[in-house]
């Protein structure tokens, strides 16, 4: 046992706690534009990510229109269709989900939840955002360059990605690779901040085991991202050289359209290994912050401590570590050495165990809780449904031999949209409804929020659940129409139309959300400092929205873990982390 100091320590004099190097903005530009305040950077990250996410949403509409009603939108030929899917995938996985969870929520929540004044390297943190913005702009420029955006599929498999008859081969692929390289550089700058702030920036009394699971999730995901993104960096640089200088890293000798090319000897499989060495951890880079955030949402709104906190932490760490030894389950049908199949199927299915434990603990937190069905809680429940569904179909695809017929079919598309598309995005929405009052001082409109939730949750489920069955029939993914396939019955076209209509409705519901974001800024109910009666530190700031430096005169001191809800004997049903214990008498 360690020494736990009972009673309240002397507050340190302000001069000592006041960080001498804390950055102070002097003008409007340094306060809101080139700001080094993590909160401002977080909002910049989030708005940029949401904006580019809207682009991806429109792209998905277009491709769904083509699938549901082939030929309805005349300008979508196969070439355009592949550009749509490529950009949609890239944007969603990297520029929206990764950036929003780590750059957005990470920046906002890490200092506030840990009781720090700011990130430890604010200047680098600011650079991180601006490089991210540059990466986004370079990415968007792909739509404008001659030949259009890259259309090689988001996995960018060579040789196809850089061959002459691939859409966007002219400039699109170059722009995309440069944008990825920029993103990784920018992310690394931010990531160093998140990791070191968690290690060094915690308030007094905030031991690792007193960190909210949100922070555990973001921290683990950042560590993974820092280790995994270099793989994408290497792959992108090498592919860029193959494209621009004619090297043969990934390009074997091939005959393209009857003409032999100058490439020889390169290994397309090498690219796949590098890509998935990044790509699989990436799934968990998106999932772990969602796991963390949803744990806190459930606990707060069920007024109950998260069930099995220690197991939750261990499971996060186990998932993080295991996710580095499962990458080749994306390559079961790539013709790699067959014995790998045994290893990677085993590791992949083992990772299901810690993941399942997390699910059990979420639902067990609900057991005997005092469940307030607020909008964030609804989104958390929606997350559990979609995540369990998508996670379980992962057991089909992870089990090597079952993957053989299903790989590269619509089943895969349905699976990963459910598990790393819909599920994390529901968490993002829940988190926005949860923390918006802290960021702006006002509540989001409750009725609009519920409308947004029900349409999004049920609609998204209606899109992706039936889609599994189209894949089960054997319809491959990345077909811009499925009409001509012999084995596809006409009824599948009806199902596709249904899915498209659902997708259009779900997309439209996001406009309600955007309206709510803007409207509530001026008209939302004033929230007060702690509208959800939550325990974690970000709700205990002296100002709402938190002022520069977060904590006013003195830094908070942490006396307890973040889940002291409904503690027997306590007057209130929550005890903030910085609430001193009642001095023992006698």
């Amino acid at each position: 046992m360690v020494d736990v100091m009972h009673g309240v320590p002397e507050p340190r004099p302000a001069a000592e706690t006041e960080d001498v190097e804390l950055y102070h903005p002097h003008s409007w530009i340094t306060k809101y534009v080139f700001s080094q305040d993590a909160k401002v950077i977080a909002i910049q990250y989030s708005l940029t990510a949401l904006a580019i996410g809207l682009v991806a949403l429109v792209l998905s509409w277009l491709m769904r229109l083509q699938l549901g009603f082939p030929g309805l939108v005349s300008f979508i030929d196969p070439e355009r269709y592949y550009q749509l899917i490529t950009m949609h995938g890239m944007i969603m996985v990297i520029y929206l989900l990764t950036a929003l969870f780590l750059g957005g929520f990470g920046n906002y929540l890490i200092p506030l939840m840990l009781g720090a004044r700011d990130m430890v390297f604010p200047y680098v943190n600011m650079l991180s955002y601006w490089i991210y913005l540059l990466a986004v702009l370079v990415l968007v420029s792909g739509f404008l360059v001659p030949g259009g955006a890259a259309g090689a599929g988001w996995t960018l498999y060579p040789p196809q990605a850089i061959l002459a008859n691939t859409p966007g081969q002219q400039w699109g692929i170059i722009v995309l690779l440069v944008s990825l390289i920029l993103f990784i550089i920018g992310f690394t700058m931010g990531g160093l901040n998140y990791v070191v702030t968690v290690l060094q920036g915690r308030a007094r009394g905030m031991t690792l085991m007193r960190m909210p699971l949100t922070i555990w999730g973001i921290f683990t995901a950042t560590v993974m991202a820092l280790l995994a993104f270099p793989a994408l960096f290497v792959a992108a640089v090498m592919m860029l050289l193959d494209r621009l200088l004619g090297t043969s890293f990934f390009m074997p000798a091939i005959i393209a359209m009857g003409e032999p090319l100058a490439y020889k000897g390169g290994s397309p499989i090498l690219f796949q290994h590098l890509f998935w060495f990044f790509g699989h951890p990436e799934v968990y880079i998106v999932a772990l912050p969602a796991f963390g955030i949803v744990s806190d949402l459930i606990s707060t709104h069920a007024r109950k401590n998260i069930f099995g906190y220690r197991m939750m932490v261990w499971a996060l760490i186990a998932i993080g570590a295991l996710s580095f030894v499962v990458w080749a389950h994306h390559m079961y049908v790539s013709g790699m050495y067959p014995a790998f199949g045994f290893f990677f199927a085993t590791t992949t299915l083992i990772i299901a165990i810690p993941t399942a434990i997390k699910v059990y603990n979420w639902v067990l937190t609900l057991w005997q809780g005092d469940i307030h069905l607020t909008v964030p809680m609804l989104f958390a429940l929606g997350f559990i449904v979609t995540f369990v569904n998508g996670g379980l179909t992962g057991l089909f695809l992870g089990n090597v031999v079952v993957d053989v017929p299903l790989s590269d079919t619509m089943f895969v598309v349905a699976h990963f949209h459910m598990v790393m598309g819909v599920a994390p995005i529901l968490v993002i929405f829940g988190a926005i409804y949860h923390w918006y009052p802290k960021v702006t001082g006002r509540m989001l409109h409750d009725g609009l929020g519920k409308l947004h939730f029900w349409v999004t949750f049920l609609g998204a489920y209606a899109i992706f659940f039936p889609m599994h069955y189209i894949g089960l029939m054997g319809v491959p993914r990345r077909y811009h129409e499925i009409g001509g396939i012999a084995l596809v019955p006409p009824s599948a076209a009806t199902l596709n139309e249904f899915i498209t209509v659902a997708a259009l409705i779900v997309g439209t519901a996001q406009l309600v959300f955007l309206f709510n974001l803007v409207w509530s800024l001026g008209h939302g109910q004033p929230a007060g400092g702690n509208p959800w009666r939550a325990t974690t530190l970000e709700w205990q700031t002296p100002h709402t929205p938190p002022a520069h430096g977060n904590w006013g005169e003195t830094l908070p001191v942490v006396y307890r873990w973040p889940y002291d809800y409904s503690v027997p004997g306590a007057a209130e049903d929550f005890l903030p982390q910085n609430q001193p214990p009642v001095p023992r008498t006698g």
């Binding site: 960080d19 070191v196 640089v237 043969s248 906190y309 261990w314 030894v325």
Partner: protein, 238 residues
């Protein structure tokens, strides 16, 4: 991917060791009260931790490059290259730069501004010379007809030296700032070397030792001294 896996295992082992000292089995709901003291966000430790984390990221990058190199090497069209002899010279220069920075750290810690300035200068000159020598090696290879596209071995040679060189260049920017600070500090201050400057010098030194270590690994890879090791790694996986 054997090398990358070994790297990940090392990182995992280190993280596991570190986590095992963080009381992850504590029952936090039973402990009410203040535990321990707060880490100091502005302490030199923070900066070193930041650099250390970056070095882990950079190591991951180089481990993956080496992995790619090893995998590509096993394809039949790989023809080993005769490496330019000037690489020996550049290796020597980088070692000298590393030593100079080590001297700079000693000088900074013992408050001797004169030796500090000359060591920093020496390190800078050696590093610039290292980069020029690498450029010479590029030219030598190009003159003998090995361009980027002509051979996978030469393509990898250009790639790894360029990425390593970019890291040296980034380091030089930091070294420049440190040197400017060192030369700007008036000699009559007490203590002569401010704490922040000592820290900057230490960070530069750590980074250069890392650059040297990486270069030695890459150098032995390019010189094909590690072929047996790579063969063993490959054997482990297949």
């Amino acid at each position: 991917m054997g090398v990358a896996l070994i790297f990940i295992v090392i990182v995992a082992a280190f993280s596991g060791w570190w986590l095992s000292r963080q009381r992850l089995t504590a029952k936090p709901w039973l402990e009410v009260g203040v535990i321990g003291d707060a880490p100091e966000p502005a302490s030199p430790m923070t900066a070193k931790l930041g650099l250390g984390t970056f070095l882990v990221v950079a190591s991951s990058l180089f481990a993956l490059l080496v992995s790619a190199y090893a995998m590509r090497m096993s394809v039949a069209d790989w023809r080993a290259l005769r490496m330019p002899t000037v690489l020996w010279f550049s290796t020597g220069l980088l070692i000298l730069a590393s030593i100079a920075l080590h001297m700079a750290v000693i000088a900074a810690r013992s408050d001797e501004p004169g030796p500090l300035r000359s060591s920093l200068l020496a390190a800078g000159v050696c590093s610039l010379a290292f980069l020029s020598t690498q450029a010479l090696a590029w030219r030598e290879l190009a003159n003998s007809g090995h361009f980027t596209a002509s051979n996978p071995a030469s393509a990898f040679f250009y790639l790894v030296t360029a990425i390593h060189g970019a890291h040296v260049l980034g380091g030089l920017a930091a070294l420049c700032r440190t040197s400017v600070k060192a030369f700007a500090t008036p000699k009559n201050l007490v203590p002569t070397i401010p704490r922040e400057l000592t820290l900057s010098v230490e960070l530069c030194a750590i980074y250069w030792h890392f650059l040297l270590l990486v270069w030695l690994v890459l150098f032995s890879l390019l010189m094909r001294w590690t072929d047996d090791f790579i063969e063993i790694c490959r054997g482990l996986l297949t």
